[in-house]
Amino acid sequence: MHWTLMVAALAVLVAGGVGCKKKPANPFPDSNAVAGWQKSSETRTYAAKDLWQYIDGDSEQYIQAGVISTTTSDYKFQGQLEAVVDVYTMGDAAGAKKILETGQSSDAKPLQIGDAGIVYAQSIVFRKGPSLVRIVSYESTPTSAQALQALAHGVEAKL
């Protein structure tokens, strides 16, 4: 009886993931989790050493800021507006801050999201803890700015 209880307790612990390495959170909203947005590709993941495969020489600034991994997925809004969501997981919040504050254009506007964010006509960049999120749409439509903000909040809620 004693052994039976121990085995059962162990099984519960394993099933609950206790003692296992915590699985990274999935920051990508499922289709229709944010109204009108469909997740239109699989999630792709790049370790820091492979980031060049995705963004070529641009990877250097992320590596210098301590990027650990990058995940990305495509989205479509109402079947038309296409966007890409990149989530850079940095070593710490300072790394995410460094990237956010680098290379802003003069028409950047602050956006209340996460720890800090900026918004342009076709893109949103924000940080939350060690995560740096960049959402870019390929065109500008009358509804794109509002739609992008909704998607950004959907991602932020999952971080």
């Binding site: 070529d56 020489g57 600034q61 342009y120 870019v136």
Partner: protein, 336 residues
Amino acid sequence: MNKMNNRRDFLKTAATGAVLLGSQSKLGLAAMLDQPGQHAAGASKVVVARDPQLHGSDGQLDEKRVQALLDRAIHSYTGIERPAEAWKHIVPAGKTIGLKVNGLGGKGISSHLALVLAICERLQQAGVKPGNIIVWDRNARDIEACGLTINTDPAKIRVFGSDVSGYEDQQSSFGSARIKLSKILTHECEMVIGVPILKDHSGAGVTFAMKNMYGVVDRPQDLHAGGCNPGVADLNCIQTVREKVRFTIGDAMSSVYNGGPGFRPEFLWHPNALIVGEDRVAIDHTAWQIIEKQRAEKGMPTLEAAGRPPRYITTAADATHQLGTNDPNRIHLLEV
């Protein structure tokens, strides 16, 4: 120099021209096709063809205008009005021609499909069989970013990446570059036309004709040190790259003047131009000036002041590399 009487004469002379003109022109096209007095002998011809109406007020590309812009660029470069005839002076008969596009920046800032289709159309009119045209880049993702669909059917225009062909087992080298070349370049193509897209580059300063060759090697990340200098110049000096990549039709219809090489819509602008020529150094020098002009208009610092001048352009022109000229006095710039 007078125009050639026919393609055979042209090719024969071109072969000689490559020797005579050395680094500046492999085909010797520019020098041979010039009208007398058009520019100083030995200068590298670069054509910048523009159409201010290429993008509408909504920012959408008017694809119907791209073919006409391409024709105007090639006409200006060759001096030959009929497109099919002009193209016969650019591509050798019966050869497999590769179009090395650039889709790394994703959908927003990749070589435009309309331009690729326009080039393919003219190549076929010049007698190149569809199956002898290969549109290629690193991998399926980059190709699809250009709006292209993978096709390996040899009866049609072939479109695939180095992820399909693989890379050579043996390394090629020049200077700092020790790389394995794509088998599309080494095995499939007999001549390559570069179809890069003009972008600012966070490391190299500018990416265009020569930097586009990073997409033909297995480990481009190994060539990024020092602002890609001397990596870009060394890579372009590798014999196969130097000899096969003989013409550039640079896509400057859209560009990013900062934040590249990825798509940063806040820095997107539409130069509405094609930049055409043989001398890859002269083309990159010209493209760099276009980016600098836009940065100045936007109140941004020069690339030098930003700490990332494209030094590889100077290196590519030096005595070790001799890939072309970056001397404005030796670049015959034709803006049409």
